[in-house]
Symmetry: D2
Subunit: 358 residues, 4 copies
């Protein structure tokens, strides 16, 4: 008999349900008796011992469903040692719930912040297995995270829609793609949709280079230019500011987001009409794409296998097309970002895409 | 032999190409010899005699293509009598091009503004046939415009995506839907996606009623509330302002759009977290949906038939499931908006949807 | 207090859940106390008193879900007076269940066969309201049925996919579209996807005219021809056979369906390679399109209103863009098929589409 | 100056245009002067010197277009040494065209058969670069082929649609997925859509094991079972036949395809109603998915780079998430099929999926 806790934490994404279904189906099919404790709304559920018992039936038909049947919430790692509103120590409460329910392990699905807390719980002696969930694909230790390809599909579709309008009206269009620290999503959606300029956090842009790329298209007879801009895109100038100075600048920032800043600069320097579209949270929602469903199911199955073998302290990741286990302590606190010298960036440049850097 | 001019004007939308293909296929299949002059970028092309000759081949394979092969541009009706940058009278230039090229008629695809200008050209003696294109479905004289259903599909998909995230996180989400004066798009996308609250220009909202509807959902055990808000949604308070006072208020308006104003009010009065998504121009783009392809093709075919019969001065519209011709003079300058007492609004209310008015 | 039975019968289609949700939400929102008896698997559930009590919660989140939460089954009308496997009279058993449970009315969702049985139950004194569900759009008394537009979308997408392959390889492709007696689905999907030839039951085809249309395309320089063929398409020759002779012919028929017969004839007479695709049951499945969700919700709401007013014996239909009630006795046993002289058929011909009849 | 020939051969698939665009954009952006000879309809165009000159403009806007702008045709490798209808030696004619036009190299996009011929041309002294195109993902030397993920998406959507109907009606449904020799497509689409049973060529099935899996689902309370069956699925019995005996059996085969054979066996042995759906050529068509667009663009870019470096005799493939060059001589004639002991197969079994083998 195994008593297994499960929670989903952080910004939600596609295929969370598929991954959990994978874990649970594997356990049930193994013939081992299992009890599944589904904690509600992320770590909050573990802190407050807020859970419901789940059976095989709860996981039926959810392979294709977006969101998470457990609910989620954000809890920044840096707040983990700050007592909660009732004055309780959060980590102690989580340990308390775990031990009180006599759990064999916790399955935790989440992104970077979630992994830091998960590793902390591991250090505190809990048996933890994690699954790499994020549309940002920025988790260290895995080639891929689930949610990513689904978000690429949605962001690509958004840019595809804009393409026809851009072509009809002959304007400059900016589509703002999610991603504060990592440009994977913007890079892939931009390449998939034929964006002309791609701005990502890892490659600070010079606005003059951006404008040069627009002019070059005009000179080549193009009626329009499309920019895929990551939420976290940053100008070379700003990237050189100290953290403090950048924060100060942001406080007086007149734009809702960086896309509007880029738009404003282009308009002022070229006189061209620029439009901004922000698909926003759409990118986290809806049914997972087939790629993510297979991928999340595979990771879930291997997580189930680890539980059956009592191997804990790992994130189940993906390396060179095989599912692997990665020590949690190696994952926590690291970020996987786009190397400006990566082959895919060079290939994008070979295709004529400008990153605003040269 | 017929010499036919064609242009697309105003904000682009889906199925413009399908409609033009319908006209041209009908003419070619009729056996009549035709010459098609495709004017570039809306009325500008007609003013500047900027056109290219089109053949049957140009219309092959475009049934499913978004945008317009002719390009489009906006030219507000009120500017039509203001001389252009070269000091020329726009209307005279258009007449001049028409007569110089010895055209038999002009096919003009557009929305409200476009129709006013088209009617003006009719008054000036040109042979005009128009086709009702707009995602807003606000053209008088026709039950339906092409582009509308495609835009409903995109806006619905956007809200569908938001639904899973709203459910996971338990927040209030606002999706801003296009439509400055007419609420058709918001109403239909909202009903299609199960939005809980729908705010449209025709039914001024009271913020207290909006909040009451959110509270009622909370009381019923719902984790989240979704609002579909039209760009042109207006509070009851603002709707009573004089045009001048409203303009003055808008000048000091701190929000990018009404959705952010609604979000701000909800946040302040309830403490709930509110997120805004703005699909924006996506709603005009991408491939037309099957409904619009059939519909636009039918209208195009009937426009072709009118040309063959030399019947001019009409918009080709749709009434009670039949394609009809509507005198242009009746169409121009009128708007078809949502009647707050319409059956569909009552049905939406029966389903439990709040319009923020009661 | 109202006690309401509900069942879905016949081949399933999209938006059944949306329609039922519409009825139930309207009843709950009205403040009237209701008890909902959901009978399982169509009339079988009513015969066997096989039901489960449903609450508002059962209808939450199902607006976008395909299929039917009640299950369905086919029960041909002509078998309704044949005793069931247990020797019981089916009609009497249904009446018995109805009275035993002290129901105020039955809500029945179905197509043609379903409506015949529903009307019979009405004649037997039960309070019946029906909702017009079928991808075939062949119910008399309503301009539209839900499921239809969703099926058009799927069939159109199928032909769209085939289009690119046809273009690459330069062949003749046949896509078989659902519809044994009515050609609405084939006609609309064919027009939406730019099919060159459309064969429907209502317009018997002559194979020589079909081949003539293919040759005409070849002569015009086209590499390929696409045919949308209804399951019930019939050659002029066969349409003249007596029912008995046609049945005899069918018994010796070497083809899985009419599409293969058409393919075989084209191949033999032209030497061209012909490929057949049969999307089949895909056309009934998947999430309802936004149009159907709005439409089914509206019909459901009006059905709820009829119940609240105790008005029974009606199908809730749609006429000239308004939801209407149609006496069940007028609906039962009639079919709404495509008039070969209908405007839409003429328009399709104007666009150059061949129906194989001339 | 480079003179580059280009052709697409074999069954078409998604992202052929994206790949060609990648090659050409890279060449143009490099500043090298290039002339592109686009041969029509596969090797036939090279044999008959049937080509058109292509410019940068021809490749604009085709990133998202299905099919191939060059057309394709099948030419089995074993027929390559058989003189054509005019009595000419095909290989000699291709060499003749190549040398006559003074080409620097040929870019050839295709699958297995295409690669055998491409390698033959390399052996004959032509400069060849190939790109791995096939929905079957069965090319040796590359982890992935373009077209594959797009086909997975379409096949998955087909099974998704069937799912709702299966659930409503409680039947056994078979969806036949493309793939004569390799089961990659069926395996991935089956896992993505939650198919219960997956039959692929590499794992011969025993019909009794298939039925056992269906019974197990019934016993577990499931109303329906869905099988994803590859075109090339084979029973254990048949897999043991000699090639000759199997061919003889097939000649008397009463079924259109293996799915119908499986359906027949299940029906006869269980009495359950079984329905077959065959999406067929749909799986090759339509717009490429975002994954394939990025992937094909990357391969195209690297092919362009090889040309610029005058490195020939390679297929551009994908290994461990990096684009690599693979000697053509190693690729030709080999097949990459699913290893029955592969991790992904084991994971599928852990999830409860039956392959009919145990």
């Amino acid at each position: 008999m195994k008593r297994i806790g499960m929670l989903t934490s952080g910004g939600d994404c596609q295929a969370l349900n598929a991954a959990m279904r994978g874990v649970v189906k594997t356990l049930y099919n193994s013939g081992t008796e299992v009890e599944i404790f589904g904690f509600q709304n992320g770590y909050k559920g573990l802190i407050n011992s807020d859970f419901r018992m789940l059976t095989n039936r709860d996981f039926s038909g959810i392979l294709t469903k977006g969101g998470t049947i457990l609910g989620s919430s954000r809890m920044p790692f840096k707040e983990i040692d700050i007592p909660d509103e009732k004055g309780r120590n959060k980590v102690e409460e989580m340990k308390h719930t775990y031990h009180k329910l006599n759990l064999d392990c916790m399955i935790i699905l989440g992104g970077n912040g979630t992994h830091k807390t998960a590793n902390r719980l591991r250090e505190e002696g809990l048996n933890i297995i994690t699954l790499p969930k994020t549309i940002d694909n920025d988790l260290w230790g895995t080639d891929m995270t689930f949610g990513f390809q689904s978000a690429v599909d949605i962001a690509t579709e958004a840019i595809d829609c804009i393409h026809t309008t851009a072509d009809s009206h002959g304007r400059v269009f900016i589509v703002e793609v999610m991603g504060h620290k990592a440009g994977w999503l913007t890079l892939n959606a931009g390449m998939a949709s034929g964006a002309d300029i791609i701005l990502i956090p890892e490659i600070p842009y010079k606005i003059d280079k951006v404008i040069k790329a627009i002019k070059r298209r005009e000179a080549g007879g193009s009626r329009f230019t499309i920019l895929a801009v990551a939420e976290g895109a940053i100008s070379e100038e700003d990237s050189k500011l100290s953290k403090k100075d950048f924060k100060k600048k942001m406080e007086q920032y007149p734009f809702p987001s960086v896309s509007y800043e880029v738009a404003d600069a282009i308009q002022k320097k070229t006189g061209l009409e620029v439009r901004v579209t922000v698909p926003g949270h759409m990118q986290r929602g809806g049914a997972p794409c087939p790629y993510d469903r297979v991928f999340a199911s595979r990771l879930g199955a291997e997580a189930g296998k680890l539980i059956l073998k009592d191997e804990y302290g790992f994130m189940v990741g993906y390396k060179n097309r095989e599912v692997v286990k990665v020590p949690l302590k190696d994952v926590a606190g690291k970020l996987k970002t786009v190397d400006p010298e990566a082959t895919i960036v060079k290939e994008a440049k070979m295709l004529g895409i400008s990153f605003g850097d040269e």
